[in-house]
């Protein structure tokens, strides 16, 4: 019984969303609004189960330990002051705590992950004895392509002359190849999702495919 109701609900909602391909209609709007509400409802449950219960409710209110955790809870509650215009400025305190300390913590890690590791991974030998020619060509493309891409994004100098002019031209070519690859990858991902939904309708719901 549960399975049958579940199949029908999922199938009707799937068709409701697909109906948008014809034109916008009340069925699609209903599904669109439901997903907004259910996503946030689900987030409430997950936040309580994964964060609030193990980090606040259980240690402080059930076991009476780690009373210091009441401090971040009070700080978090200051967000709610945003609803009261006269004291709304208090909501800046939790934001200052999260943003300021978060940015300070992120700085060295971002430096490592986005700058140092990327540069380290780019500085590779162009030629490795015994490697196939396409790998050697690939290594050259990685080193010169990354440099050219960076030149293209460097707007403090006009893109003229043999270094900046030619470099930025190669850079935009490399970036276009990257965008093309990303586009192809994204399309394939979406199409596999589409196949999944059509399979659900034809196989699970209607039983036409086996």
């Amino acid at each position: 019984m549960y399975e049958t109701i579940g199949l029908w609900v999922a199938a009707i909602l799937t068709l409701a969303v697909f109906s948008f391909l014809y034109k916008e209609n009340p069925l699609y709007r209903f599904a669109e609004h439901v997903v907004v509400g259910s996503s946030l409802g689900y987030t409430i449950v997950i936040t309580y189960q994964r964060v609030l219960y193990p980090r606040l409710v259980e240690p402080v209110f059930l076991h009476g330990e780690s009373l210091v955790l009441i401090v971040p809870a009070m700080l978090g509650l200051l967000y709610v002051t945003r609803f009261f215009p006269r004291i709304a400025w208090l909501s800046r305190y939790p934001m200052a705590f999260l943003l300021g300390m978060g940015m300070g913590m992120a700085f060295p890690y971002d430096m490592q992950a986005y700058i140092l590791r990327q540069i380290q991974a780019t500085l590779i030998p162009l030629y490795t004895p015994g490697a196939p020619w396409y790998n050697t060509l690939g290594a050259v493309v990685i080193v010169l392509g990354t440099l050219a891409g960076l030149i293209y994004f460097f707007f403090s100098k006009p893109h003229k002359g043999p270094f900046f002019g030619f470099g930025s031209k190669v850079g935009i070519w490399i970036i276009m190849i990257g965008f093309g690859a990303t586009f192809g990858f994204t399309v394939m991902g979406r199409i596999s999702l589409l196949i999944g939904r059509v399979q659900f309708l034809l196989s699970d719901w209607l039983g036409l495919l086996h």
Partner: protein, 214 residues
């Protein structure tokens, strides 16, 4: 008090967290542990703000009988019903523990189908947008088009019909030129993130203070 103190908190907190990374001492480790323990807790209360704002907007629409107001019930009912079922009626649909709960039902039979279908529908819109954007009007658009076609064909069995070179070329594009482009973009993003961190810590960027009074 209203602007200066929060900015001071952000600055002092930011500098302390930056310094603690470079000082391998128990005190700095404790500061780090406190922050990582406290931050999710503080951040989770922002959800109250989100839920409150959404509720307020939709209740206002219902009261004012604004255009499309009946759909606001489609937002509010699952928004409050899902937590009620999860916290107060966690029993399974069939009774006992053999069947999933109503909360699981709402997730697997309502939310997942709608979200998956919405994302899958993007396949149609991406294809139609690509048709308009990718017409090989210039050399750069042609490169984009050719690369996308090779990468797409390389991932499906039909690509093998053209010969082994097509999947190999698709893989080579993903491994090398695509990586070079991504790396250049990531380095740019990295420098941007570092600049933003410093701008927020030192009070140059003040957008986060919002408009909650001077």
């Amino acid at each position: 008090m209203k602007r200066t103190v929060p900015m001071m908190i952000a600055m002092i907190g930011g500098i302390i967290m930056m310094i603690q990374y470079f000082i391998p001492h128990q005190v700095s480790q404790d500061v780090f542990n406190y922050y990582t323990e406290w931050a999710p807790l503080v951040g989770s209360f922002a959800l109250v703000l989100g839920v409150g704002s959404l509720t307020r907007v939709h209740i206002h629409k219902i009261r004012a009988k604004a255009p499309n107001w009946p759909y606001s019930y489609a937002v509010l009912i699952p928004l409050y019903l899902i937590p009620v079922f999860a916290f107060f009626l966690p029993a399974s649909i069939g009774g006992g523990t053999g069947k999933p709960s109503v909360f699981d039902f709402m997730y697997s039979r309502v939310q997942i189908p709608i979200q998956a279908t919405m994302f899958s529908m993007l396949a149609f819109y991406i294809a139609s947008a690509a048709f308009r954007a990718f017409r090989a009007k210039s050399a750069l658009a042609t490169i984009l088009l050719v690369t996308a076609i090779i990468v797409m064909l390389a991932q499906v069995p039909i690509g093998d019909l053209f010969g082994r070179w097509l999947p190999d070329t698709g893989l080579w594009i993903l491994r090398f030129p695509n990586l070079a482009a991504k790396r250049a973009i990531e380095l740019g993003v990295g420098f941007g993130m570092l600049a933003t961190c410093l701008k927020i810590i030192f009070g140059v960027e003040r957008g986060w203070l919002g408009g909650a009074g001077e």
